[in-house]
């Protein structure tokens, strides 16, 4: 057992469901007890998704447990097949139901006899893999399933697209700024004259998976999702892939140069240097920001970076290399891929921390006392406690990571957004500190005069206590309305009874 106050990555089935529900017209059946289907809540709430989440829980309760779940699972699969006509139904257990050690593979085989669509059991060990690993595996499994199927049916296209083209692999629902990153990557590819062959899994149809090999190369922007698929496509179809995350001016340029190399090797003749130069120096504002006086004042300031591999590595490089900020600690919660992390960041920071234990990270931050943190929501809260500003750069996702306005992290607009994030993280903190420095000199009385215009009423201890229990943000209002009520009715002392009477009368 592990005492856990916080988790950086979710359980495996969340990863599987992120893949399944990213595809168009794919339904997932979750074989699980009541309440385990909160994935639907997360998707609906965090992404403000307009459509019903295509995930149905086949509920395991005491009765099902007693009778065995085969019948119910198969019923639910075939029923959903009829109700929604999905191309594919993915069955997944959760941590709990996976313990039952049922022959789910057999359930799937049985069910698929009666379904028009395909049925697939997500093949993940729920105790060994987390959300990120499970997503990577499920995507690979799905892609392989459809490519094998096409191969068997001899439907695999053998040609490449006419102009250089790319599959963007790893864009998924509930991913950290994935939608905006994807838009930005599509824009970037368009500017490079590269056609987007497929984006998977988000918005993709499983029927189109067979077309994946037509692209000239695969782009895997996130280290956590898509590598298995890219490796598979490389080994099976000899498709090269580019796995340089185009985040920050330097790495975006490196990614574009790698793309150039990959497509020129296949007969294209492109030279992106002029494009890179123009974007870097004059279109994106990030390189100029790095050189500007604002950023000069950040030189040598200490920062701690923590997140998933993709974002923690990218931010560490950007801060250290592009902005001259001193990264005292860079860390990741992707323990399973820590060698890569170390290799990527070690020359850009003083110390590396690989951990899933938020207390350890909190302590490290307290020890370093950086001027800013770039981390997850968890680190943001650590920062709040320690009075250190924090920019959020990585999942676990939070509704604030699904902004309505355009906020990619990748590509050239991403470099702009990151520059703002860095600048605001440091300077909003700075503003508070400036106010603190001069605080004693900045008289606050005058402006607050308007709030409490000297009360002629007294509150007895009970009522005062009760008032104290009212949340701060409505307390002032309740106080004022209650006093108004008391004054109108001639009460000199406010008791609990007066408070409640006021509430009933004026909604105080």
């Amino acid at each position: 057992m592990k005492l856990a106050y916080w988790m950086y990555a979710g359980p495996a089935h969340i990863g599987t469901l992120r893949i399944a529900s990213s595809f168009k017209n794919v339904h997932a059946i979750m074989h699980a007890p009541l309440g385990d289907d909160y994935f639907n809540v997360m998707r609906s709430m965090l992404e403000r998704e307009r459509d019903f989440t295509p995930v149905t829980a086949s509920i395991v309760d005491r009765n099902v447990l007693a009778r065995g779940s085969q019948e119910k699972v198969i019923d639910n699969i075939t029923r959903k097949d009829k109700e929604e006509n999905p191309d594919l139904i993915v069955l997944t257990p959760t941590c709990t139901s996976s313990i039952l050690q049922e022959d789910l593979e057999n359930f799937v085989t049985r069910a698929s006899m009666d379904t028009k669509g395909d049925v697939l059991l997500a093949d993940v060990n729920h105790y060994r893999y987390n959300e990120l690993q499970a997503a990577d595996r499920t995507l690979h499994q799905t892609v392989k399933f459809y490519l094998d199927k096409a191969k068997k049916k001899d439907e695999l296209p053998t040609d490449k697209t006419e102009i250089p083209s790319v599959n963007i692999i790893g864009i998924s629902t509930l991913g950290f700024h994935n939608q905006h990153d994807c838009t930005e990557l599509k824009r970037l590819m368009a500017e490079l004259g590269i056609a987007v062959n497929e984006v998977i899994p988000d918005g993709a149809s499983v029927h189109n998976l067979k077309n994946l090999p037509r692209a000239w190369f695969n782009l895997v922007p996130y280290r956590e999702l898509g590598m298995m698929t890219a490796e598979y496509l490389k080994s099976e179809f000899d498709m090269p892939y580019v796995d340089i995350t185009p985040m920050g001016v330097v790495e975006t340029a490196r990614c574009i140069r790698k793309i150039q190399q990959v497509i020129n090797a296949q007969g294209a003749e492109v030279d992106y240097e002029k494009y890179i130069n123009n974007q870097t120096l004059y279109v994106s504002q990030a390189a100029w920001f790095s050189r500007s006086i604002d950023c000069q004042n950040l030189t040598g300031k200490k920062a701690v970076v923590f997140g998933d591999n993709t974002h923690a590595v990218a931010m560490t490089k950007i801060l250290a290399r592009e902005m001259g900020i001193h990264v005292v600690l860079a860390g990741t919660y992707c323990k399973y891929d820590s060698d890569w992390f170390r290799e990527q960041v070690s020359e850009y920071c003083d110390e590396v921390l690989i951990s899933e234990d938020n207390a350890e990270i909190g302590d490290a931050i307290a020890r370093h006392e950086p001027s800013a943190i770039f981390g997850t929501q968890m680190e943001r809260h650590v920062g709040k406690r320690l009075d250190i500003p924090c920019g959020v750069i990585a999942a676990p996702i939070h509704i604030q990571n699904f902004p309505i306005g355009y906020k990619p992290f990748m590509g050239y607009e991403g470099t702009n957004q990151i520059a703002d994030l860095v600048y605001n993280s440091f300077t909003l903190g700075m503003e508070d500190h400036l106010l603190e420095i001069f605080g004693g000199h900045d008289t606050k009385e005058v402006i607050t005069k308007g709030i409490s215009a000297g009360s002629d009423l007294s509150w007895d201890k009970e009522a005062t206590g009760e008032l104290g229990k009212i949340p701060g943000f409505v307390r002032g209002k309740v106080k004022r309305n209650t006093e108004k009520f008391a004054r109108e009715r001639g009460f000199a002392v406010i008791t609990l009874e007066v408070m409640y009477a006021a509430k009933e009368s004026v909604g105080a």
């Binding site: 005492l3 979710g10 969340i14 007890p33 609906s44 009970e462």
Partner: protein
């Protein structure tokens, strides 16, 4: 929804036992750890449970609340590790770091399936480490959402003292509520005040409510001369109420049937079966029933209720003659439906995760009576509804308001259907006379908002085609 005026008929119960969405019963941790200030809740389950509490329950904002996961790992599942030793290690760490007055173990589906003997381990460990341990099986195999609280309170009922500590009885107010109410007063005043109460068999209330609501209901009963001897749960575990055989008990929430049964069968108390104090109608009925059992003549309740109704008119006019549909989520559905029907709404279907017809009998009777008096059709009560089927029925019925779980609200709104999250009623202060307004504030919000938006022509925000 145009209402065909049907003849009122008896309540109609269905059970779809379908695939429906509600929160996991371990949710109760989110409010109980706040309610019981000296407690620590340890949820013994998997990453799935932990991630739920953290992300879906929205308690993500708290960096270190007084609850944690005992996350089961592969070794625990395969029983390679000794459960007792593992739990001991974690509980000792909690003792060292936080030193709570009680550790509540929340069992989950997984502990059920691997048949971890929490009830057996608890007392042993309690004896060894010297911190009381309460064991509750708030698992999704047997319970839904708010019933998690029921499992905790039922388990905690065993920990209530049997007799009042005689020595201290006069020196110190043991009961949290009365000390709260008497805070800051001189002893003479308190003694004098005792005379305001009628003489009656002690009454203990059960159900976890925010402190201001506890005070409010306690005061309402005091107005009638009824003294509340204690609440289960109390603000602190160390202040659990004394429960002696023969005491009266009454619940404030419809999802507490197991706690009610425990108090009756194990603690030999007498349960006062009443509608629940939600809405002015329910609150009045609840007080009246308690008074009647304690043989006290209630004073001025009718005027009180009427005055509250009058004060609600600005909200009521927004929902009168409109229809509401409950998808079923938190077991508050019957009480809310009854109140909203009394406000002039009609209701075709009440989905509910679990229906204890005995514990909710008085509430069901009041619902039927209310429908008859308001001249609206009696709703169908669907236990364990099938959400997919419900949505088809919603498309047909076009209700003016759907009260639903969090997973369905946005998609229904995008299809032009007004919704309100049921979970908000779980967290809002809805009990008693004065809070009736808050129920309507919540219930009318989508109508107020969407009336406004309707003119802008943004009724449906989904396309047949995929969005650009």
């Amino acid at each position: 929804m145009t209402l065909a005026k049907e003849q009122p008929s008896a309540l109609n119960f269905e059970c779809e036992t379908g695939n429906y969405h509600t929160f996991c019963p371990i949710s109760c941790v989110a409010w109980l750890y706040q309610k019981i200030e000296d407690s620590f809740f340890l949820v013994i389950g998997t990453k799935t449970c932990g991630y739920f509490l953290q992300n879906a329950m929205g308690v993500m904002i708290f960096a270190e609340p007084r609850y944690a996961m005992a996350e089961l790992e592969e070794g625990d599942i395969s029983a390679k590790l000794n459960d007792y030793e593992e739990l001991k290690r974690l509980c000792l760490q909690i003792k060292r770091d936080r030193n709570p007055s009680v550790i509540v173990w929340i069992g989950t589906c997984t502990t059920e399936i691997i048949k971890m003997d929490l009830e057996g381990l608890g007392p042993r460990l309690e004896a060894e480490i010297g911190i009381p341990i309460v064991t509750a099986r708030a698992n999704g195999l047997d319970y839904a959402f708010t019933q998690g609280e029921d499992t905790v309170l039922a388990a905690m009922a065993h920990k209530c003292p049997t007799v009042a500590p005689k020595q201290e009885a006069e020196k110190k107010e043991r009961n949290a509520v009365s000390s709260l109410l008497n805070f800051g007063r001189k002893k003479e005043e308190v003694t004098q005040e005792e005379s305001e109460y009628k003489d009656h068999t002690p009454l203990v209330l059960f159900g976890s409510l925010p402190d201001p609501v506890v005070t409010n209901l306690t005061l309402e009963l005091k107005k009638q001369g009824v003294k509340v001897s204690g609440w289960l749960p109390s603000k602190r575990f160390t202040e659990l109420p004394v429960i002696e055989q023969g005491y009266y008990t009454a619940g404030v929430n419809p999802f507490l049937s197991r706690t009610a049964t425990t108090l009756m069968r194990r603690r030999k108390t007498k349960l006062i079966g009443a509608p629940f104090p939600i809405g002015p109608d329910g609150t009045r009925a609840w007080i009246e029933k308690i008074c009647s059992v304690l043989e006290i003549e209630p004073q001025g309740l009718e005027e009180r209720e009427a005055k509250i109704w009058a004060s609600l008119e600005d909200y009521i006019k927004l929902i009168r003659s409109k229809s509401v549909f409950f998808m079923g989520d938190n077991l508050l559905e019957i009480s809310l439906a009854r109140f909203l029907i009394r406000c002039g709404m009609s209701c075709h279907e009440i989905g509910i995760p679990y229906m204890d017809k005995r514990y909710q009998k008085a509430e069901l009777d009041l619902l039927e009576k209310t429908c008859n008096e308001m001249g609206v059709a009696i709703p169908t009560i669907v236990e364990k509804p099938d959400n997919y089927n419900q949505i088809q029925r919603i498309y047909d019925l076009k209700p003016d308001l759907v009260i639903t779980g969090m997973a369905h609200a946005n998609p229904l709104e995008a299809r032009g259907i007004n919704t309100k999250w049921s979970v908000e009623f779980t967290f809002a202060q809805i009990h008693g006379f004065t809070n009736a307004r808050d129920i309507l504030e919540l219930a009318t919000r989508p109508l107020r908002r969407n009336n406004n938006l309707k003119e802008l022509g943004w009724d449906k925000l989904v396309q047949e085609e995929a969005n650009v």
